[in-house]
Amino acid sequence: MQKTWISASPPGVNSHAAYLEIHNQTGNAVSLLRVTSPRVARIEVHLSEVRDGVAGMRRQDAVAIPAGATVEFAPRGYHLMLFDAAPPLRIGESVPFSFEFSDGSVLNVQAVVERRDDPHAAHPQ
């Protein structure tokens, strides 16, 4: 996993989006099933989509990652939704996560809370 970061939230907002890239270097397709963190009460995988000019977020039960493929979690696309961190996440804080996959593997990753004014820096389009 690469390019992990958590978007800092405006005041009063206790939900965050987290972004990363997952490279499947195994020879088999796997699915991301669950993400947990001791710092965050609840984590969901969401996909932002714009359809007919309307932006919506859809919760994803699993994200398929084909063999050898990379799935990007980036602004306006897949992201992790972090709900109800207690105490609230601070800029600069490193947050541990566990990613559970369909082949039984678990990856432990850290992501830092950042404020990025230019979302395109993280997601060139």
Partner: protein
């Protein structure tokens, strides 16, 4: 959540954008030299004139039609609990605002965030939210009826989902940025995904076009 249960349709997008595009296509076909057709998202020659509306700004003051007159207003509709699309778009608006200043674009402009979640987004919450992105950004809230007095005129789609057991809920909303001209007319739509440089280029084109078209 893939199959949203009872969707409450607060407002449905009207055919405004398609209508504008249709006009543009018509213009392009029958009046080939018209520069309007080359400016993507321009609603000319039929920009919708906004009528009166009554909402509330981030300081609790009335936010009404006269607040738009004499300025180029860039409106985005979203909600503070939206963690991905809204912060990204407001960051783009904030960059765009800085680029206008850097380039000394001679047009008074204002960035406006309008909450489509009146239940959770209080005036204070919206104030704190817009301040995070830009000191000058206007943050509009109000009752559902007040918000609707504006969103219904622009044709903003808003879909509120049922809350989960924790009380969280999602709201689908128009992803575009809407430019209201100095006369209170919906002139231009910037569809998602926006970026500041492209917006700047198209705004300059629109300004240039309007100098000639609307003299």
């Amino acid at each position: 959540m893939p199959s949203p249960q009872s969707l409450r349709t607060t407002a449905l997008i009207v055919g405004l954008i398609a209508f504008g595009a249709g006009i543009g296509a018509f213009t392009a076909r029958y009046y080939p030299p018209a520069p309007a057709a080359r400016i993507e998202g321009l609603m000319w020659p039929n920009p919708k004139q906004l009528g009166p509306f009554a909402a509330v700004d981030q300081d609790g003051r009335p936010f009404t039609l006269d607040r738009l007159l004499g300025k180029w207003s860039f409106l985005f509709f979203g909600y503070t609990h939206c963690p991905d699309v809204c912060p990204v778009t407001l960051s783009v608006l904030s960059q765009f605002e800085r680029r206008l200043a850097e380039d000394k674009v001679d047009a008074p402009a204002q960035m406006v965030f309008v909450s489509v979640d009146p239940q959770r987004d209080t005036t204070v919450r919206v104030r704190d939210y817009v301040r995070y992105f830009s000191p000058g950004m206007i943050g509009v809230s109000g009752t559902e009826a007040e918000i609707q007095s504006l969103t219904s005129q622009i044709g903003i789609a808003i879909l509120h989902y049922d809350p989960d057991p924790q009380g969280n809920y999602l709201v689908d909303h128009s992803a575009s940025v809407f430019l209201i001209d100095t006369k209170g007319r919906l002139l231009l739509v910037f569809p998602a995904p926006q970026n500041a440089e492209a917006m700047l280029g198209r705004f300059r084109q629109a300004l240039d076009f309007m100098k000639r078209a609307d003299a």
